[in-house]
C-alpha cells in the first residue's frame, strides 16, 4: 500500500503541477501572442488534405483501441484481459498528455523554423522547445491590415495542429505495441513510468532523426556517415515505430523472464474472436497510419493506401498457407498474424513501392514472421507473450531492408522522385542506408530499454508478485473482472 501510495503520489503531483503550470502558461500566452511576431507561413488550409488528415488521426487512434486492445487482449488468459486493455487505454491518456506538453516539440521542434529552412545544427539529434505546451502550434489572433484575423501555424497545406495530432497518435501506439512482450506479468505502475521515460528518451529522438531532418532522415544534411549521406527512407514508421518497439519488446521479455508456468500450463488465447476483430480494425486503421503519412489527400495517399492493402492481403494468405503446409490446417490466429505482419513490413515502404512489389512484400513478411514466431521463439525459449518482437521487431526490420530493394521513383513524392534511383530493383543504392538505419535503431532502442528496465527493476520492481500473477492482473492490478457471465 505504501509503495502504491508513493507511486501515485509521484504521478499525481506531476499531473497537477503540469496542469497548473500549463494553465498559467496559457494565460501568459494570451497577452504574449499579440506581441510576438509570428514566423509561421500563412498558406490557406487545404480542406481536402485537412479532412483526410483528421480522419487519419482518428483511424490511428482507433488502432490502439479498440484495435490493439482487442487484438492483444484476446490472446491472453481470461484473468488478464483487462490488464492488457487498460494498458492501451491508459497510454491513450498518458502519451497524449506528454505529447502535448513537450513530446511533439522534442520530436519536431526546430528545423522548420530555421533561417531559410536550412536546419540548424542543434536539430540533428533532438527537437527544440519551440512547441512546448503547444506554443506556436495553436492558432493566434493577429491584426491583418487593421482587422483581427485568426492565424493557424501550418505544416505544408494543413494546420500544424493537425500534424501534431496525427503524429501524436503514433506516440500512443508505439509503447502500446511493447506491452505485448510483458503481458500477463508486468506491474501497472511500473508500466506507466516505463512508458513515460521510453517515450521521451527513445521515441522522441528517433522520431526527430528520421522525420525531422535528423541524422537518419532521407536527404538531410545531418545524415550521418559520409557514404550514406542520403539517409534512409521510412514512410510511416518502420524504424520509428516497429523496430523501436519490437527491439525494446525483446529486451523486455528477456529481462523480465517468463510467465509463471510458461511451457508447463496451457496458455491458449482466451478469446480468438477479439483477436480477429482487433486485427481487422488494425487493418482498417492502418490506412490512416500509412496513407495518412502522405500528409495530404493526393495521389501519394492512394499509392500508400494500395500498398498497405495489398501487403496486408498477401500476409493474410501466406502465413496460414505455411500452417496449411506444415500442420494441415490454416488457423484464424495465423491469418490475423499474417495480416499484421504484412502491414508492419509495408509500413516503411508504403509510399515508395508499386502495388505488385507491395503484394510480394506482404507475402514474404507472412512467411518470415511465421518462422520467427513458430520456430525461432521456441528455439531460444524467451517468452514474448504476444510476439511483439516476433512480428513487429522482425517484420519491421524486414520491411526496412525490403524498402531498400523495392522502393522506386515511379511511386514516391515529388522530392524523392526527382532524386537518385532508390531500390536495388531500379539500380539504386538505398539498401545501405536502410540497413544502417535499422541497425542504429536496434542498438539505440536495445541499449536504452535495457538500462531503463534495470533501474526500474531495482526501484519499483518490474513484475507483480507470484500471488498476483496467479490471480491475474485484472483483479490484482485493477480490482475488476473482465466478464461476469453467471
Amino acid at each position: 500500500m505504501i509503495r502504491v501510495g508513493r507511486e501515485w503520489a509521484v504521478g499525481c503531483v506531476a499531473l497537477v503541477a503540469m496542469l497548473a503550470f500549463s494553465g498559467r502558461l496559457n494565460a501568459y500566452q494570451e497577452e504574449s501572442n499579440v506581441l510576438t511576431p509570428t514566423a509561421s507561413t500563412t498558406v490557406p488550409v487545404d480542406k481536402g488534405d485537412n479532412a483526410w488528415m483528421l480522419v487519419s488521426s482518428a483511424l490511428v487512434l482507433m488502432m490502439t483501441a479498440p484495435g490493439l486492445a482487442l487484438f492483444y487482449s484476446g490472446l491472453v488468459r481470461k484473468k488478464n484481459v483487462l490488464g492488457v486493455m487498460m494498458q492501451c487505454l491508459f497510454l491513450m491518456g498518458l502519451m497524449t498528455t506528454i505529447w502535448g506538453l513537450y513530446g511533439y516539440s522534442l520530436s519536431f521542434g526546430g528545423s522548420p523554423k530555421d533561417a531559410e529552412g536550412k536546419p540548424s545544427g542543434d536539430s540533428a539529434w533532438i527537437g527544440n522547445g519551440e512547441y512546448f505546451f503547444m506554443h506556436n502550434v495553436e492558432p493566434k489572433l493577429v491584426q491583418k491590415d487593421g482587422k483581427p484575423e485568426l492565424e493557424y501555424p501550418m505544416e505544408g497545406t494543413i494546420p500544424r495542429l493537425t500534424h501534431m495530432l496525427f503524429q501524436g497518435m503514433f506516440f500512443i501506439i508505439t509503447p502500446g505495441l511493447i506491452c505485448g512482450a510483458f503481458a500477463e506479468r508486468m506491474k501497472f505502475s511500473t508500466m506507466v513510468v516505463f512508458s513515460i521515460v521510453w517515450g521521451t528518451v527513445v521515441y522522441c529522438p528517433l522520431c526527430h532523426w528520421v522525420w525531422d531532418n535528423g541524422i537518419l532522415a532521407y536527404g538531410s544534411p545531418h545524415a550521418v556517415v559520409a557514404g550514406l549521406n542520403t539517409g534512409a527512407l521510412d514512410f510511416a514508421g518502420g524504424t520509428v515505430v516497429h523496430i523501436s518497439s519490437g527491439a525494446s519488446a525483446l529486451i523486455c521479455c528477456l529481462v523480465m523472464g517468463k510467465r509463471l508456468g510458461y511451457g508447463h500450463d496451457p496458455m491458449p488465447p482466451h478469446n480468438m474472436t477479439y483477436t480477429l476483430i482487433g486485427a481487422t480494425m488494425l487493418w482498417v486503421g492502418w490506412f490512416g497510419f500509412n496513407a495518412g503519412s502522405a500528409l495530404n489527400a493526393g495521389g501519394l495517399a492512394s499509392t500508400a493506401f494500395t500498398a498497405t492493402h495489398f501487403a496486408a492481403a498477401a500476409g493474410t494468405l501466406s502465413w496460414p498457407l505455411m500452417e496449411w503446409i506444415t500442420h494441415g490446417k490454416p488457423t484464424v490466429l495465423g491469418a490475423c498474424s499474417g495480416a499484421v505482419a504484412g502491414l508492419v513490413c509495408i509500413t516503411p515502404a508504403s509510399g515508395f513501392v508499386q502495388p505488385m512489389p507491395a503484394l510480394l512484400m506482404g507475402a514474404i513478411a507472412g512467411v518470415v514472421c511465421y518462422f520467427s514466431v513458430n520456430k525461432m521463439k521456441p528455439k531460444f525459449g524467451y517468452d514474448d507473450s504476444l510476439d511483439a518482437f516476433g512480428v513487429h521487431g522482425v517484420g519491421g526490420t524486414l520491411g526496412a531492408i525490403l524498402t531498400g530493394v523495392f522502393a522506386t521513383r515511379q511511386a514516391a513524392d515529388a522530392a524523392v522522385s526527382s532524386g537518385a534511383e532508390l531500390g536495388l530493383l531500379e539500380g539504386g543504392k538505398l539498401l545501405v542506408p536502410q540497413v544502417f538505419a535499422a541497425g542504429l535503431t536496434w542498438v539505440y532502442a536495445v541499449a536504452v530499454t535495457f538500462v531503463l528496465l534495470k533501474i526500474l527493476d531495482a526501484t519499483m520492481g518490474l513484475r507483480v508478485s507470484q500471488e498476483d500473477e496467479v490471480q491475474g492482473l485484472d483483479f490484482s492490478q485493477h480490482g475488476e473482472e473482465g466478464y461476469i457471465f453467471i
Binding site: 491458449p268 488457423t331 498474424s337 514466431v373 521456441p378 510476439d387
Partner: protein
C-alpha cells in the same frame, strides 16, 4: 430414492430428455462438465504452441427417481444416449437419504 447421474454427449441431450419425459420422469437437473477417459481429446495449435485439450465437453444429468424406477431410467438413458463410439459416457447411481421440495416442504418421493 436414488440419484441417477449420467454423463452424456451434448448432442444427445435432446433425445435423452425426450425419452425420459415420455417415460414419465418429472424433472431433472443438468450441468456442463468436461470429461477425461478413453476418448482422447484434441490438440490445438496457436502460433506454434501446441495445447492438448484432453478434457472433452460433456453434459451431466442428475435425476432423482424412486427406487423401483432406477432400472427403467438407466435403460432409457442408455438407449437414447448410445452411439457405440468411445465417449458415450457413464451412468452412476447413488442412494438418497432424503428429498425435500422447497416450495411445499413435501419430502420423500412426493418431492420429486
Amino acid at each position: 430414492m436414488k440419484k441417477v447421474e449420467a454423463i452424456i454427449r451434448h448432442f444427445k441431450l435432446e433425445d435423452v430428455k425426450l425419452a425420459l419425459s415420455s417415460q414419465g420422469v418429472q424433472g431433472m437437473t443438468i450441468s456442463e462438465v468436461r470429461g477425461f477417459g478413453r476418448q482422447k481429446g484434441h490438440t490445438e495449435m496457436y502460433r506454434g504452441a501446441e495445447y492438448t485439450v484432453d478434457f472433452v465437453p460433456k453434459v451431466k444429468l442428475e435425476i432423482i427417481v424412486r427406487n423401483e424406477d432406477v432400472q427403467k431410467t438407466i435403460s432409457t438413458i442408455m438407449r437414447a444416449a448410445q452411439t457405440g463410439q468411445i465417449g458415450d459416457g457413464k451412468i452412476f447411481v447413488l442412494s438418497l437419504d432424503e428429498a425435500v421440495r422447497i416450495r411445499t416442504g413435501e419430502t420423500g418421493s412426493d418431492a420429486v
